[in-house]
Assembly symmetry: none
Homo-oligomer: 402 residues x 2
C-alpha cells in the first residue's frame, strides 16, 4: 500500500496560502561587492519577514538543470516538472486561454519573412504590433481550409507570436521544429522524430504550407515557423490533489496558462504590479491559495542589468506590507528559477525561498538572501516539495501513519 | 514525453572540463586538533581556488554506503553506481586493457599458496614480483586447455593478482567467491547463487581446478583464488551521453579501466604524479573532458598515517597551478570516497568537492576542507549529479522547457 505524498494526506480544511513569485529571483555575486542582487537590494519588509520564516534553497528541476518558466512554475505548484514535462506549444495555447482538449496538438508559430529564394531573412517578421498580429491571424482564419478529419485553430499571442492547435485522432507530437534558429537558410521541413509521428508530420507540413500560401503576399509576415510541438494531457488538478481553491494573478499570459493547466482560476491580465496586489486584495477570502507573479526581476536579470534587477526586487518588497495585511496563514516568497544578471539568462542555481508561518526555526543570519537561505532550516530541496511544506504549515496535512 | 537528465539536454559544444580526483580525499578529524587531513594540509592553491568555487559534499553511493573505487569513479563520471553496478572482475579486466565482449565472464584471481592438506596458507602467494606474475601467467597460458565451447584468457595484473576471462554463450556471473578471506581453511568451491548460474559454476570450477593442477609444483603460487565474478554489459558511452571527448590519466590500471568502461580514452600508465600533469598538458585542447587520478592520498589513509595523508594532499596541491595554467573552463577537485586515516579504510562519509567556474556563489569560510564544503552552495548531493553540474558550468546544457 504505497502512499502518494502529499496527496494522500491532504485534509479538506486549513489555512490560506499565498505564493509570491519573483521570476528569476536567484542571482550571483557582484564581483565588486560579493553580494547577489537579492543581497544587495534594500528589502526591509522581506528582511523582517525572514526573521520569522523558514528559509532554504530550492532546485526547480534538479541539480545543475536550468528550467524554463513552465517547468519552474509547475515545480512551485507541486508537480515534478520531469514527470509532468509540458511542451511549449501546450503552454502557449493555455496561455492565450485556448480550451485545449485531451490529445490536441499545439505548437508555437512565429510570423517570419522569407525571400524569393525561400530563405528566412527575419525570424520575427519585423516584430509586428499586437494589432497587426490579430489582423494576420484573422486573415489565416478566413482563408484556411482544414484538411479532412482535423480541426485547425490559429490563436494570436503577442507581436510575432501565434499558436497553432490541431484537433484530431492519433496526433503525435514527436516532431522537429521548422524554425531554423538562424537566418539566410530555408525553414526546416516538419520531421517526424519517431515512426509513429510520420502521419502527423505530413499533416502538419500541409497545414504550414497552406498558411504560408495565404500569407505569401504580405510584405513582412509572409510565412510561419513552428517550434515546440506538444500534445495536451490534462493534469490532475490543484484542487483534486491538494484540496485548494487556487487563483493566479500575473501580467503575462504564460504564467496564467501554467496555473490554469493545473486547474487554478486566473484573473484577467494585470497591468501593473500594484494592480496585481489590488486584485489579490479583492475576494481574498474566497480562495485558499493565491499565486501572484512578478515578472520584472527576471526581465532585468535577462537584460544583464544588476542594478535594475536590484531595483525590481526592491519594488516588490515595497508591496509586501499590503500582502501581509491580508493575514495569509502561510506566506511564501521565492522565484521559479535563478536569472543572474551576470549570465543574462536563466540558470541552474538553487533559488532562495522564505516560508513565513508560526511554525518555523529562524536562524541568526539576518535578511532574505542566498547566503541566509543556504543556512536555513529547509536546506536545499526539490521545488516540487514546496507545496508539501505549504500544506503542512497551513495545517492541511494529516499525520502519516499512527 | 519524459526527459532523461542531463542526457537529453546536452549541447554539442561548450567549455572544457578537468576533473581532479584525489582518491580517498575525505577524512575525519585528528582528535588532537579537531581538523581533518584536508583541513590540516597546507594547500594554498586549493584554498585560493575555493574562494572562487562552488563548494559542497557529495555522496558517491548514497547515505551511509562505503563505495569501492569502481562505484566511486562511476558516480564521478555521472553513472549511478547502483544502477550501473559493475563487478570487480570486469573492472580488473578492463584495467589491464583486455578487450571485453558483451557477455564475457570476468573474475579477479589471486595466486595463493596451499599446503598438502589443501588449506590456504598464504592468500597472496608471498606477493610475487610483477615479473614472476608474468612468468606464472605465461605458464598457465601455455598448458591450459579450454573446455569445449568456451574461450579462456588469463591476464597478468600486478604482484599476486591476475584476471580470468571466460568467453562463451549464456554465462551467468551469480557465483560466490572461492577466496575464503582467511588462512588455514581450504578454498571455497564455486557456488551458484541462483539456479541459472549452475552450469557456469561447474564450468568455472573445472577451469580453476585445471589452473591449480598446472601450478601445483610451484613453491608458492601453487593455486588460485577467485573473487568478484561479473559479466560485461557495455555502458552507454561518456560521449554518447554527454557529448564529451574524455581522456583519463592515472598511475594504476583500475582507474583507467573504469574510464574506458564508459568510453574515455586512456593514456599509458603514468609513473609519477608530475608525469600525470605533464600528460595532461599534452594535447590538452584535443579533449573536452580530462580525468586525472591521484592515488597516494587514499593509500596513506589506508595506511592509517594521518601525517602522510596530509603530505600527499599537499603534494597534489603543489601541482594545481600547472593545471590552472591550462585554463579549463570548469575545474573540479574532489575524491571518489573518503578514506579517513583513523579508519584505515574507505568510509561512507561524504566527500568534499570544489567546482571552479565563473558562475558560483562563494562563501566566506576560507579554504578547501570538510567544514567549508559543508557550508557551500552545493549542499550534500549524489555524486552522480556532479557531471550535470560540470556540464551546466561548461555551458553544455540546454534549458529544460520554455
Amino acid at each position: 500500500m504505497t502512499v502518494t505524498i502529499p496527496d494522500d494526506l491532504v485534509e479538506p480544511t486549513g489555512g490560506r496560502i499565498v505564493l509570491i513569485v519573483m521570476d528569476g529571483l536567484g542571482g550571483l555575486p557582484n564581483p565588486e561587492t560579493g553580494l547577489t542582487e537579492l543581497e544587495t537590494a534594500n528589502t526591509p519588509n522581506l528582511d523582517r519577514l525572514a526573521l520569522r520564516s523558514a528559509l532554504g534553497m530550492h532546485k526547480p528541476a534538479g541539480t545543475g538543470v536550468t528550467p524554463g518558466s513552465g517547468p519552474g512554475h509547475l515545480a512551485l505548484f507541486g508537480y515534478d516538472p520531469i514527470r509532468w514535462n509540458i511542451g511549449r506549444g501546450v503552454l502557449s495555447a493555455l496561455g492565450v486561454g485556448f480550451g485545449l482538449q485531451h490529445g490536441d496538438l499545439a505548437t508555437r508559430l512565429n510570423f517570419a519573412t522569407r525571400d524569393a529564394e525561400g530563405r528566412i531573412i527575419d525570424r520575427r517578421a519585423g516584430r509586428p504590433s499586437d494589432e497587426e498580429n490579430r489582423r494576420l491571424v484573422a486573415k489565416l482564419r478566413e482563408h484556411f481550409r482544414a484538411p479532412e478529419g482535423v480541426e485547425v485553430f490559429f490563436e494570436p499571442e503577442k507581436e510575432h507570436r501565434l499558436v497553432l492547435v490541431v484537433r484530431g485522432k492519433g496526433l503525435n507530437a514527436e516532431l522537429g521544429d521548422t524554425d531554423p534558429q538562424e537566418t539566410g537558410v530555408p525553414a526546416l521541413p516538419v520531421q517526424a522524430q519517431s515512426e509513429g509521428a510520420r502521419a502527423t508530420a505530413e499533416l502538419v507540413q500541409r497545414i504550414l504550407d497552406q498558411a504560408s500560401e495565404i500569407l505569401k503576399d504580405e510584405p513582412q509576415a509572409n510565412t510561419v515557423l513552428a517550434r515546440g510541438f506538444a500534445t495536451y494531457e490534462p493534469y490532475p488538478t490543484f484542487e483534486q490533489r491538494f484540496g485548494l481553491k487556487g487563483r493566479a494573478i500575473a501580467r503575462y499570459p504564460m504564467y496564467l496558462g501554467v496555473a490554469r493547466l493545473v486547474g487554478m482560476e486566473s484573473l484577467p491580465i494585470s497591468k501593473t504590479d500594484e494592480a496585481s496586489v489590488a486584485m489579490l486584495e479583492q475576494n481574498f477570502d474566497d480562495y485558499s491559495f493565491h499565486f501572484v507573479h512578478f515578472k520584472a526581476v527576471d526581465s532585468r536579470g535577462e537584460d544583464g542589468d544588476f542594478a535594475a534587477k536590484v531595483k525590481a526586487i526592491e519594488s516588490v518588497d515595497a508591496l509586501i506590507p499590503r500582502i501581509e495585511a491580508l493575514h495569509p496563514n502561510v506566506l511564501i516568497v521565492t522565484g521559479d528559477h535563478s536569472t543572474p544578471s551576470a549570465m543574462k539568462a536563466h540558470s541552474w542555481h538553487p533559488v532562495p525561498i522564505l516560508i513565513s508561518s508560526p511554525w518555523v526555526r529562524p536562524i541568526d543570519v539576518p535578511g532574505f538572501g542566498e547566503r541566509a537561505c543556504m543556512r536555513g532550516e529547509l536546506g536545499i530541496f526539490p521545488a516540487a516539495e514546496i507545496m508539501t511544506l505549504a500544506l503542512a504549515h497551513a495545517g492541511r496535512l494529516a499525520k502519516f501513519g499512527a
